[in-house]
């Protein structure tokens, strides 16, 4: 499987070097490293001697590398580009992190057809916080990756750095430049698609958390609030169905609605023909535009789903696979 490693960086040339070196020294080498440079005043890193060494080391390790100047819209835009570059897997690591040399190999060994993403421990040297380990989406304050444990856990979402199956789910580009919860939403969407999300305590990525740079370059609290609001609305929708398609597609979906209602208490349907569902109790019906303002609705496109999966069974079965 082809693996792309990516680092999205902003105003952290002083520490980015470490992340690059940690990629170079992995026992399992990615095919390529792409650095998305969102610096306000980007420089050609090849002109800085320390980075010359870093890139030469990548060359020695036969890891192709590239620096792409980002659009400065936030790291989620960069991750989305990486997500769509045609690689099987993408390993994302933050610019203020250092992955121990077994990280990619450990994560890669846990990938199988049923796994959508896998992350290791993300620890800050000298800290051992997050005694409460949550694996559930409803409380993301204490991520399981932030506390030492052994073995592998099945969870619902991941934080910060992880290896994931590319090209299946889109990142939420409705989020602001700080992209608060972008990785949580992304991995939880993979989980909802039916893939396992794994956390392993058997490898460590060290987080040299910086007070400035990265998403902390932004000082407007409204950006975080905006993203938190989007996250909460998205969570509050419960089981989300998107029917941005024809009337027949609505009726095809309607056939499996009783099964969905048996499985999920809270259901929101964003659709073009709400009259198809009139009289059915317990549904929260919203417009397509309302959903579009919160999440990337393409993740729920039944035709994209069928195309991506070379679907050859009835559309109703596709709806079941997508939503049940």
């Amino acid at each position: 499987m082809k693996i792309l490693a990516t680092i999205s960086t902003k105003n952290r040339y002083d520490i980015l070097f470490n992340a690059i070196i940690s990629v170079a020294l992995q026992t399992k080498r990615p095919n390529k490293l792409i650095i998305f440079d969102d610096n306000e005043n980007p420089v050609d890193l090849r002109n800085l001697s320390i980075y010359q060494y870093a890139f030469n080391l990548l060359n020695e390790k036969k890891i192709e590398w590239e620096v792409i100047y980002g659009e400065k819209k936030g790291q989620h835009h960069n991750h989305q580009k990486a997500n769509k570059m045609g690689y099987d897997l993408v390993w994302r690591i933050d610019d203020d992190e250092f992955a121990e040399n077994n990280v990619l190999e450990t994560l890669y060994n846990l990938i199988d057809d049923n796994v959508g993403a896998v992350g290791g421990l993300i620890l800050m040297p000298g800290y051992n916080w997050a005694k409460t380990q949550n694996t559930n989406i409803n409380d993301i304050r204490y991520n399981v990756q932030w506390h030492k444990f052994n073995g592998v856990k099945e969870i619902e979402h991941l934080n910060s750095s992880f290896l994931y199956r590319a090209g299946i789910i889109d990142y939420n580009l409705n989020l602001s430049k700080v992209a608060h919860t972008e990785e949580t939403q992304f991995t939880y969407e993979l989980f909802k698609r039916g893939y396992k999300i794994l956390a392993t305590g058997d490898c460590i990525t060290w987080h040299f958390r910086q007070p400035t740079g990265g998403i902390r370059s932004e000082i407007d609290n409204n950006l975080w609030k905006n993203d938190e609001d989007i996250f909460r609305i998205w969570l509050n929708w419960g089981k989300l169905i998107i029917l941005d398609n024809g009337l027949g597609d609505h009726f095809a979906f309607k056939k499996i609605l009783p099964e969905i209602q048996k499985k999920f208490n809270k259901i929101t349907i964003s659709c073009c023909y709400p009259e198809v569902f009139s009289g059915i109790k317990g549904l929260n019906l919203i417009s397509i535009n309302e959903a579009k303002g919160i999440i990337p609705i393409e993740n729920y496109n039944i035709y994209k789903f069928m195309r991506d999966n070379n679907w050859n069974k009835p559309i109703i079965e596709a709806y079941k696979k997508l939503y049940l």
């Binding site: 609505h250 009726f251 095809a252 309607k254 056939k255 198809v276 069974k313 009835p314 559309i315």
Partner: protein, 145 residues
Amino acid sequence: MKILISPFSKKLRNGNKNPKDYPYWDKLLELIKKHEIKQIGIAGEKILVKDYYQDRPFTEIKQLLDWCDIWISVDNWFPHFVNNYGDKKGIVLWGKSDPKLFGYDNNINLLKGEKNLRKNQFDIWENEVYDENVFVLPEEILKYL
């Protein structure tokens, strides 16, 4: 026999004729004129028979479904609607879309040939060229009435 027909697919956004639309309705209706026929559709569609029901609510469409002995439709919303209300058999006139993906086994799915199926079944119809040769002739439909 009471026959309900749903003859057209939704108009395309580029104004072109929908490749799912059956080209021989006039001939077919001539051949089955001894039967009682009602048509459902939406504003802007061609009216083919005297008993025409335009833009009716689903409750009324359901009553029309209950009324008929059999229904005939192109690959549009109607077969999916019917599938939500039991298994009253109908005849679906397929052209380039695949009944294995978008049809129901309990219907009479008339597909002229798998060779006519479009390569990308999940593409938008605006990208597809209309071809009347991909449909069965009206005489073929008569065998099932």
